[in-house]
Symmetry: C2
Subunit: 254 residues, 2 copies
């Protein structure tokens, strides 16, 4: 049975009890609309911890576009069923006022990497991400928290934040999971039209094809994507594109 | 015996062991140059906790004026002797690179109250304060942390930050302590010339005298203070003045 917890006060009590029993605890923070990518994080968390919590919170502060926030899929009943089937112990499903009693007066910022890539195209995005992650980690205080490498920049910033603020949680990166045709799994894929869904796999195919970032950008444009960015960073090529009303991101290791 | 700890890695291990033993832990964060005001915080912490830690860290990120940072008194040997005498268990005395391995890339900000009063006169001051307090609280993870009401705005912001980020530490306010002649105790008082020290007590006398903020400001100017601000907030009158090269703050309850 997955216990659903809606209030932060209850959550803090429940997680305090789990820690007092000396059980290891893993957290998988999500915005819901769970797919196989999330399930792979949950599976990993199950393998490494005695108890597993999943948080479902569509975090308003990481959206600069209200339409994007509005259209993000909400599928709570299906999510709960998937968590039950996956053996999740606790689902934290708070309202926004539970997480932001301060109305987002207090926030975490970062002055370099957060301004680039996703941060350059979504103003304030990573302030919202880091702030909500810090709050969730403090509510749950897990031994480990699991982040997908699809949001690679997010993972790096959260990992570095945890280090800078001396958090006791280990930030664990998990490999990107793809659909059978190779499209990176994303809750946003549900918003693609049939025609867009047919085109979408060209995105990762072009990234895997290699070349200079200019060449990649050109090929993406030819394939009818609106390109936000294509950049090399460390051993990766990272890219974001728009396809109709849907924004897709992906990254491949070279 | 007060154990002096210089490295964050050691500190985290030591405080983890204390918590594992189930001992309550109090933290008094300071910038050193300990005076009776600090000692009253330490005494309170001793009364309420099994173990007491004092941190000494002149936090560079809360200074907008390098000369002010430079002139802040450093009196480590005397501070250690005072901690020994006061029964402090652990003194955390880190270097700046221990606290800022990230070079202050990650920080905590607040969008309203931190911009006023002290924040209006010391740019970025409270970002630095909140960031270092969050780091210290995460390193030590005390049950209670003690803050003097002399820095009333600082106390309010730290208390609200702890609430917003769901920290497990109780933020405890402690009454302002005054010299025999009523001057609010401050490490900066040591930087006053004899003549300035003679004038300084007029500061609190005028605040206690009441009146409109304009009247108070006028009286302070007549007494040779350069007034940064005088403001009513909740049940308090808060003020900051400059006397020669020294900046003094005070607040009185009405």
């Amino acid at each position: 049975m997955t216990e659903v917890v809606r209030e932060v006060r209850d959550a803090r009590r429940i997680f305090r009890e789990i820690r007092a029993q000396g059980h290891s605890l893993g957290l998988v923070p999500t915005m819901g609309a769970l797919h196989s990518g999330h399930l792979s994080l949950i599976e990993r968390a199950r393998a490494e911890n005695a108890s597993v919590a999943v948080s479902i919170f569509v975090n308003p502060t990481q959206y600069d576009d209200p339409a994007d926030l509005e259209s993000y899929p909400r599928t709570f009943e299906e999510d709960l069923a998937k968590c039950e089937a996956a053996g999740v112990n606790i689902m934290l499903w708070p309202d926004s006022h539970e997480i932001y009693p301060d109305d987002y007066r207090f926030r975490v910022t970062e002055s370099e990497f957060s301004e680039r890539l996703e941060g350059a195209h979504r103003r304030g995005h990573f302030d919202g991400v880091m702030t909500v992650v810090l709050k969730l980690l403090n509510i749950v205080r897990p031994d480990r928290a699991y982040f997908g490498e699809k949001d690679w920049q997010q993972f790096v910033l959260v990992r570095d934040m945890a280090e800078a603020f001396f958090l006791d949680t280990e930030i664990v990166p998990c490999p990107l999971v793809r659909e059978e045709d190779g499209l990176a799994m994303s809750s946003r894929n549900a918003n693609l039209t049939a025609e867009e869904r047919r085109i979408a796999p060209r995105f990762h195919e072009i990234l895997f094809g290699g070349g200079t970032t200019d060449e990649i950008r050109e090929r993406l444009a030819e394939a009818e994507f609106d390109v936000d960015y294509v950049e090399r960073r460390n051993d990766r090529v990272l890219a974001a594109v728009r396809l109709g009303k849907v924004r897709l991101i992906d990254n491949v290791r070279e």
